[in-house]
Amino acid sequence: MDVRRESEATPTKNRTGVERKSERELVVTRTVNAPARLVFEAWTKAELFRRWWVPKSYGLTLLSCEMDVRVGGQYRLVFRHEDSTMEFFGTYLEVTPHSRLVWTNEEGDGQTVTTVTFNETAGKTLLVVHDLYPSKEAIDSGSTGAMPEALDQLDELLASLGSSTETK
């Protein structure tokens, strides 16, 4: 199927930047070609969030994803990885629609605080994901989820997904 639509066709990927700001901070940036309210939706609705948070090429299955997105609300993600399950959970500290999300991540030693800002300019949204780790050891021990990646596989996967995405 090859229905032509207004300029949405080419999924040109924007650049993902990573910077280690300090001993305890990692900052990831990326521009998304959509207004902030849509990007924010994808970050705050569990049924959408679960579709992108775990890249499909990583061999992890997301068994459940619960997100109570409001100040003081909790989230909990359960994964299957090979023979075991892993849980990731925490609390939302700040929820400012379309512009800012702050949550804690509590399953490790100490608490990591993630701040996501959504900055819209001319219909595009600059995402800045700032992680503050409890210690530099927490970063160095690799608890940041830097998993090995098979990018070729991912590209194939994305291509097939892109062509079969239903419009409903």
Binding site: E8, V18, R30, V32, N33, R51, D131, G142, S143, G145
Partner: protein, 121 residues
């Protein structure tokens, strides 16, 4: 955010079981330093720091060079590669994630457009 595959990283940093040695590597990641400066920074004796640097040097994580009476330490080739490789792996994770986010967001855009055409909500 998650402990998906520490093994990869842990193996590369097996030599770094010690918090001070991790600290030294971290420090050298930002700037070269003399053993004296490192000893001061980590509040230990010159001898103690020499020992730590020696371990790191043997692991190929640090290299040292003596100029005059000062021995300067910098990240060894392996240390540099590890740091770069680790950041790159992290970047790839997020890039993969965001690529999938793009797909979800594109779908939301299409839905919104389709709804907008039918009725204003």
């Amino acid at each position: 955010m998650a402990q998906y595959s520490q093994t990869h990283f842990d193996a590369s940093f097996g030599a770094l079981s010690d918090a001070t040695r991790r600290g030294v590597l971290e420090q050298l990641g930002r700037a070269d330093a003399s053993i004296t400066a490192l000893a001061e920074r980590f509040h230990m004796t010159l001898t103690g720091m020499k020992k730590h640097v020696g371990v790191l040097e043997q692991a190929g994580l640090v290299s040292t060079e003596k100029v005059g009476r000062v021995r300067t330490c910098k990240l060894g080739l392996r240390g540099l590669e590890e740091e770069a490789a680790w950041i790159e792996r992290y970047r790839q994770l997020w890039a993969a994630r965001f690529d999938e986010l793009d797909i979800v967001v594109e779908e939301l855009k299409r839905k919104e457009k389709a709804n907008g055409r039918k009725k204003r909500k």
